[in-house]
């Protein structure tokens, strides 16, 4: 439709299939804004302006109402906020309740960061999806693209388009009006041919094939999940699944003794970490390296009976500090086995909890210092070893402090310094 149609006074329904509307180019913001005002004062509402840049005041001139998109954003944010809090509550308090650091199973405070992130994410989804939906996308083609002059709307022209579906649209009258307000190159928007409105058969075929193919993995997975097989599972990266290496604590036929973990070669010396002094590092006399076969033998297992280091006030003070940090939580400040953890475990009636033996019990009092040192280092019964957490010297400090604690229960007035003695009072 490049020629001007002759005037047809009663022909409005017949024009519709021939034209989708009109476009006109303008070369300044002021003229296009003026054209919009003139057209709207003539009752035409279905107007669009294509511009290379945003134009202030165009929304008002076109009479565009505010977009509902912000409401979508705030709704998305609210849903995200709610689902974040719900998720934190469900996972921590319902699905897998697990007390961490004595915190409540659910608390609003740690849930807020994830709720905040989800609020932003869902708001972004709402805006992204809303912008696409309100923009009428996906749109495969636009008839305006067929007009050569329309391309300049991305460069140096402001293109005004009037839709033929407007109630006041009249091909001749509107064209005249556009010419009058200074529109250049007023052109019809070509109508869509009926043949072009259909999606081609090949596209349908391809879509159908893709849909069928998409079912294949799902079917295979469903089959695999609901059937058994005697074959080993598929190994996609077999050299990672099956590595030629010796794993600890396994047998291996390569060596005569059948062990894959190799003992150290005779005469091996540890680098930087030579611990020759067994009395100091192990708490026992040399030559008693093996494990004791039974408890009775263990008692006479060569434990050192005298401290292998100088015991002075600073060592005992250090020992007291370490004891209060590492030991007192279970053993209690006084060593009676009444630490806070113990009290709490007994209160909860935890069947697996073994109450620590009082350090003032006779068997413990009788133990040599080396044995106490060994208990701290390697643990005893349910008590874990503390060798990795407490340095050797500090462990001896704790032993010294425990000895001091034990002595307090068997002290007499002779043990008290004479200048303090007058201030003390007799107990029954």
């Amino acid at each position: 439709m490049s020629t001007v149609a002759p005037p047809r006074p009663e022909a409005v329904p017949e024009i519709e299939p021939e034209s989708n509307g009109l476009v006109a180019s303008f070369n300044s913001v002021d003229t296009v804004l003026e054209a919009v005002r003139v057209l709207r004062s003539g009752g035409i509402e279905r107007i669009d302006v294509h511009s290379p840049h945003p134009i202030h005041g165009l929304d008002d001139a076109l009479g565009l109402k505010g977009s509902p998109l912000p409401w979508g954003a705030i709704a998305g944010a609210a849903i995200g906020l709610g689902s974040g809090i719900w998720m934190a509550w469900w996972m921590n308090a319902v699905d897998y309740p697990f007390i961490i650091s004595g915190k409540p199973l659910f608390s609003i405070i740690p849930s807020l960061p994830i709720a905040f992130e989800l609020a932003i994410l869902f708001a972004a989804f709402a805006v992204f999806g809303g912008a696409i939906a309100f923009g009428g996308m996906p749109k495969l083609a636009n008839q305006k693209f067929r007009i050569p002059s329309f391309a300049r709307a991305t460069d140096d022209r402001y293109v005004l388009a009037v839709d033929s579906r407007d109630k006041c649209f009249d091909l001749v009258g509107t064209r005249a009006l556009l010419d009058e307000v200074g529109g250049e190159g007023v052109t019809d928007i070509p109508p869509v041919a009926t043949s072009e409105k259909r999606i081609p058969r090949t596209v349908w075929m391809a879509a159908a094939v893709l849909c069928v193919l998409a079912l294949v993995p799902a079917v295979l997975i469903a089959k695999a999940r609901n059937s058994t097989s005697t074959k080993p599972r598929l190994s996609f990266v077999s050299d990672m699944d099956h590595q030629p290496k010796f794993k600890p604590q396994t047998t291996n036929s390569f060596f005569p003794d059948g062990r894959s973990m190799r003992p150290q070669v005779e005469g091996t010396v540890a680098r930087d970490d030579l611990r020759e002094d067994d009395q100091y590092y192990l708490g026992r006399n040399s030559g008693h390296g093996g494990l004791a076969a039974n408890a009775a033998e263990k008692d006479s297992d060569g434990w050192v009976t005298a401290f292998p280091l100088t015991v002075d006030e600073s060592l005992i003070r250090r020992g007291r500090e370490r004891y209060q940090i590492f030991c007192a939580t279970c053993h209690g400040q006084g060593g009676d086995g009444d630490g806070l953890v113990t009290l709490r475990a007994l209160e909860l009636e935890q069947g697996t909890w073994v109450k620590p033996t009082s350090l003032h019990a006779e068997p413990i009092r009788g133990q040599p210092v080396g044995r106490l040192f060994n208990s701290i280092s390697n643990g005893v019964r349910k008590m874990p070893g503390y060798a990795s957490q407490i340095p050797v010297r500090d462990r001896w400090g704790i032993v010294a402090y425990v000895r001091a604690l034990q002595r307090t229960r068997a002290a007499t007035s002779a043990d008290v310094p004479s200048e303090i003695l007058p201030n003390m009072r007799e107990l029954n």
């Binding site: 005041g57 004595g102 405070i109």
Partner: protein
């Protein structure tokens, strides 16, 4: 873009801006402020725990007015740094607010001087006996001692006063000679100035607010104080801009500028909430006694209610009310919300400072009178300076851009 503000229109605007607001009302706030402070002093000296309460009220209201200036200074630095065009016409308001910083600083000087007379009612680390019996305070005493504290305070104050006066003077000189080099100089120096402001505000917050509990520490505290200052400064700028629009003082300042100021205020208020929550959550999660002790004190004896007030009044209400575009352009809404935010900033500082000595929230004549005194004397200086200079930078090279600014 729009050709409505031609040169002749701009000249009119310039001429109108030169007509100074009549400065006859300066005496009223001066007398009011002086009387209020004198009242607070008298009332405080008459009761037994009055002096200690007055010291805290003094610090609270000092920091409150100070933070308005600091927020304004950050605003100016930021606008120069990003070479903003829109904000030129509201910048003079910020410059004047920034330059008023000397008043709260002078008024707060006695607090630092008292330290040399052994006063430890405000800062416990100045108590020699307490420090001698406290190993943590002994270790901190190389930093927390009266002479070094005073040296640092003088450094902060000097830096701020210097920056504030430099911004105002350079801008006013440009009003006369129209030298565009002034603008380039302001821009290039704003980067180090913002760094300096950031460091001084952080350490001032550590010194003047955090060391009220010398055992407690929080590395985020400086940003917390900074975000509060931004909220306070932008609130006052928004209020003044809104009042100027309502009074039709100049057509160079209109709803477009208000909209952008309030957008910044809105963002900084969200930032405050973010920082406040971050500080709270990290302490809550780590649950270490030496950190929780500060919050525990503030969650008992009625202080917990203030926490709720802050969460709702400082964040949730302004967040929802100021969210729509229309609200940010409505002078009545903006004035109401900014006033509310200023009140909340005061409550925030009250919640930081007062639990250190008061068993439960106490609010009386001392707080009111000190508050009136500081605010009146602060704005006396601001009004005086605003009256002695054009209300917009009339020869700024970006004036046209600012006058024709439209929020898209």
């Amino acid at each position: 873009m729009a050709s409505t503000a031609g040169p002749e229109n701009l000249d009119q605007i310039r001429a109108a801006a030169m007509l100074r607001i009549s400065g006859q009302r300066v005496a009223t706030p001066a007398v009011l402020g002086g009387c209020a402070l004198a009242t607070a002093l008298t009332v405080a000296l008459m009761s037994q725990d009055g002096p200690r309460r007055l010291a805290h009220a003094w610090l609270l209201n000092g920091w409150f007015t100070l933070s308005i200036s600091l927020g304004a200074l950050f605003f100016i630095g930021l606008q120069h740094l990003v070479r903003a065009g829109w904000s030129v016409t509201v910048r003079r308001v910020a410059e004047v607010l920034g330059a008023s910083i000397s008043n709260p600083l002078i008024l707060m000087a006695p607090l630092a001087l008292l330290l040399f007379f052994g006063y430890c009612g405000l800062f416990p680390w100045n108590d020699g006996e307490l420090v001698a019996s406290d190993r943590i305070l002994q270790n901190k005493s190389t930093y927390l001692n009266a002479p070094f504290f005073a040296v640092r305070a003088v450094f902060y104050a000097g830096t701020w006063v210097f920056i504030a006066r430099w911004y105002l003077k350079a801008s006013c000189r440009q009003d006369q000679n129209g030298d565009t080099k002034t603008t380039t100089r302001l821009e290039s120096r704003s980067a180090p100035i913002l760094l300096l402001l950031g460091v001084t505000v952080t350490f001032a917050a550590f010194d003047w607010l955090m060391s009220l509990d010398p055992h407690w520490f929080s590395t985020i505290f400086g940003i917390y104080a900074f975000s509060g200052a931004m909220v306070a400064g932008l609130s006052v700028i928004a209020i003044i801009v809104a009042v100027m629009i309502r009074r039709r003082i100049t057509e160079a300042i209109n709803c477009e500028h208000l909209h952008d100021v309030v957008k910044l205020l809105y963002g900084m208020n969200c930032f405050w909430a973010y920082i406040a929550f971050s500080q709270y959550m990290l302490i809550w999660y780590a649950n270490i006694p030496e950190e929780t002790v500060w919050l525990k004190l503030r969650q008992e004896q009625g202080w917990d209610g203030m926490q709720t007030i802050l969460a709702v009044g400082h964040f949730i209400v302004p967040f929802l009310v100021l969210m729509p575009r229309a609200a940010k352009r409505n002078t009545v809404v903006v004035i109401a919300m900014s006033m509310g935010l200023l009140a909340m900033h005061w409550v925030d500082l009250y919640w930081i400072i007062y639990p250190q000595f008061a068993d439960s929230p106490a609010f009386g004549l001392i707080e009111v009178a000190t508050g009136i005194g500081f605010v009146a004397l602060f704005f006396m200086l601001a009004i005086k300076m605003l009256c002695s200079a054009p209300i917009i930078p009339i020869r700024d090279p970006r004036l046209t851009e600012s006058v024709t600014h439209v929020v898209p």
